[in-house]
Symmetry: C2
Subunit: 231 residues, 2 copies
């Protein structure tokens, strides 16, 4: 099913983006990977993105530097504390403090700009609306709205040269299903990083929402999580 | 008609953005101004944005640095030549080489992120679909699509705290009408900069699409353009 088309894949270094990179390749796309150095609390994520891309044989890659800290407004880009040991109910009942305002809109816009220059018309993003943190910009209706915007707001969209598609293949999968799918595709999850609040050495805390969702996902998949935790 | 609401206004330093800044104030908004240092060919634009904001008494202001040159694909962000002395037909018959891929999508996304942090729900952008350069992301249907995206992709949109509005008050005005309106509102167009290809001293070329549209606008408005041209 090779189609030789380039797809721009948003790669954060987490397990979702490692999985969609493998899925994009399975669907025959040549992945061009984009990552964002947006002033996140730590750089372990970007190191993981680099490892994941290398393992997947990605040849075209860019990291966009954009300082979202200048805006503030999130525990992930400011000095606010990351919440720990929350129940599933707490995690999904309201949009958490780790929400970064309009982050996926900013990231998808930059991916769109790069894709248009590359002549690509496919974007892959690892958003997930099942085992997720309640972020508004992870829902299918949001993804459709962005696709529509892309077709109206780009040269290629208007000229009909590209019919933009935003692929969000994980959107209705559970974390456990994502992990099982990734393992079938040969994803090495030991290369990924999910924790919002790692130790100075880069060990995952095991208690933030992201670690808890990850650990539950591996438990549901019946597989051991290959990364190391701090305690 | 004071409503004490903050609106984020995209200010490039051109005549359109100087006009919408005045219009936002006239409608009772307190403007927060956002500009973009995106790797444009010259910095006269950003200096003009600073002058325009000072003259308008803007108190909240940010300039986001984002290197769109890394992507390339436009005469405005690369070494490609800016076209000169084109007829109106040439200017509007196809999307020109000065189009920066997905630029307004990137800019609006960042404005949205900042506005969400500020607690604002109004954005002002000076796009214009009449005397314009044929850019796809300057059309009313594009602006509506972005508004929809904002309401789906932000915390405040989802929680119903903010009903996002993207104001594009110039969208169906001619350049001449824009200038007449701005003069009524006291805009000092000598502070603005429009040229894509200024001299090293910052004098406008008078021959690029942007200068030609500007000069035609002043001619239509029956007013002399107060800026200096190179020849």
């Amino acid at each position: 099913m090779k189609n030789e088309k380039t797809a721009v894949v948003l790669v954060s270094g987490g397990l979702d983006s490692a999985t969609i990179l493998a899925m994009a390749k399975e669907r025959g796309y040549t992945p061009a990977a984009i990552s964002f150095d947006y002033g996140q609390r730590h750089h372990f994520e970007l190191a993981a993105a680099e490892r994941v891309c290398q393992a997947a044989g990605v040849k075209v890659r860019t990291t966009v530097k954009i300082d979202l800290r200048a805006f503030g407004g999130s525990a992930l880009t400011s000095g606010l504390d990351v919440p720990k040991d929350r129940s599933e109910g707490e995690m999904t009942s309201a949009i958490p403090i780790t929400y970064v305002p309009a982050r996926n809109t900013v990231f998808l816009s930059l991916a769109l700009a790069w894709a248009e220059v590359l002549g690509a018309s496919d974007l892959f993003i690892g958003v997930n609306a099942v085992d997720y943190s309640g972020y508004p910009d992870c829902r299918p209706e949001y993804i459709s709205a962005f696709e529509r915007l892309a077709n109206l707001g780009t040269k290629s969209g208007v000229e009909g040269l590209a019919k933009w598609q935003v692929h969000a293949p994980l959107v209705s999968m559970s974390k456990g299903e994502i992990i099982r799918r990734g393992i079938e595709l040969g994803v090495d999850y030991s290369l990924t990083h999910s924790c919002y609040d790692p130790s100075p050495e880069g060990l995952s805390c095991g208690h933030c929402d992201s670690c808890l969702l990850r650990l539950k996902g591996f438990a549901d998949a019946g597989v051991a999580d290959p990364i190391r935790y701090a305690g």
